[in-house]
Symmetry: C2
Subunit: 238 residues, 2 copies
DNA sequence: CCACGGCATTGATAGTGATCAATTTGCGCA
DNA sequence: TGCGCAAATTGATCACTATCAATGCCGTGG
């Protein structure tokens, strides 16, 4: 973890428009600029640990962060990927609880830390922020429940296809002419954890999908050979 | 569904202390009293449907409500039980979305409907309400994620024991001397749905637990013969 | 009092994914 | 370039739970 002294201003942050903070005034942004701590983080580093008290929130300027949860047996589950613009660690702060999960850097990232007091001050002055985080948590709740229902009713194959389409929304490229493709930002093991299966099952599911000519995998690169058939199979409206 | 004209006042509602509304002033409660619609609902009735737009929120004065979600194939999952004092349907209202699930009466209940406009007016005047619902949704989010992690890592037997202990917290009775017991407020089918298995698997799990002398079932009544062993098995601190 | 229908249980079987074990691939680094 | 380790794949087997089918139980209404 390196601190990079020439901190850029929030006002000019390329992700600001997408964040919960996009309703702040310039004065309020200046306040954050003044006290935030920007750091340069490498894969494997932990931003906060499960069970820790909240010291503040972390805004992802660039990179990729994974939210993991440890169960009673010490096994961990990857619950969610967080992208630039997302603020992580807000739940323990706003809910006045310990962190119920931990956050790990998955790709080289710039992370801005905003300490607890700044956040609570801003919340007190500007209730819109609280409202934004409320909406955010409602969205996460819906996603978590959909996830639960999917992992109850769908087989590995379908869950994997669904997961690939979700990743495609975020990280995909290409078009109808040149073909659609996707560079998966995580390992097979994490991909497996994300849909609650073992890495072996993922490997087999991939093999079967390739046999059926739906996709072609080359390491972390995926080519969608027949994206229509995929949408059909997961029952999505294209 | 019967309207029961002599509506009691929110101020005197026995559940008020436990609700998100317990910070309202008397004036604000009067406003709700003036416009709320109380109704008498029977098991099987649906309070709101999945996909519907939100028309307001529903406060459970007495009874029991189940939150269910339909998946793409039309199969339904029981996600949560809601007890007196809980306000249901708030997510679609606050998140400005359709209902992502539906709510069904599971035991004869008194339900107070508070229409959308009243709620948004109160929210605008009293930001504490929003904060309360934020905390509520954060709590539900943690529960949903724990649920997800549990159904990934635990077998049916352990999930059932865990579920019984959760139900015991809410509906249990007895003490060390007279023994602990529980009247399960839902059918086997719903119990199965709650922990994401088939009713057959629940039946078998119950048989095995009885063979091991951990519990004794008599219909919906459960006697805990060895509650220590149960805590041991689910790894909880007693 | 019996017939019916829904709920619950029990039994037999099969499918899915986990587990264990053995390679193979890929990549950083000397 | 080749070594060494971790990640990924493949194979064989097993355990768990879903599924299908039959029976038992019980409350309701004719």
């Amino acid at each position: 973890m390196n601190n990079t002294p020439p901190q850029s201003k929030c006002l000019n942050c390329p992700t600001r428009e997408n964040t919960e903070w996009n309703t702040l005034s310039e004065d309020e942004l200046d306040l954050i600029d003044q006290f935030k701590r920007v750091s340069d983080r490498e894969p494997g580093e932990i931003i906060y640990h499960q069970g820790d008290q909240s010291e503040g929130v972390y805004c992802i300027q660039s990179g990729l962060v994974g939210i993991r949860q440890l169960d009673a047996d010490g096994k961990e589950t990857l619950l969610r990927l967080c992208n630039p613009g997302e603020t992580v660690g807000y739940r323990a702060l706003l809910g006045n609880s310990e962190h119920t999960h931990f956050a790990e850097i998955l790709a080289p990232s710039h992370i801005c830390f905003i300490e607890r007091k700044i956040v609570t001050d801003l919340l007190a002055k500007n209730p819109v922020i609280g409202e934004r985080f409320l909406v955010r948590s409602l969205k996460e709740l819906t996603e978590a429940e959909d996830n639960l229902v999917r992992s109850r009713s769908l087989k590995v194959r379908t869950r994997l296809l669904h997961c690939l389409m979700v990743l495609f929304d975020q990280y995909g490229s290409g078009d109808e002419l040149s073909g659609y493709m996707l560079k998966i930002p995580i390992s097979r093991k994490d991909l497996a954890s994300l849909i609650a299966v073992t890495p072996e099952s993922i490997s087999r599911a991939i093999s079967h999908l390739e046999e059926d000519n739906l996709v072609r995998f080359e390491g972390r690169n995926v080519h969608f050979s027949n994206i229509e058939a995929i949408f059909d199979e997961i029952g999505a409206v294209h």
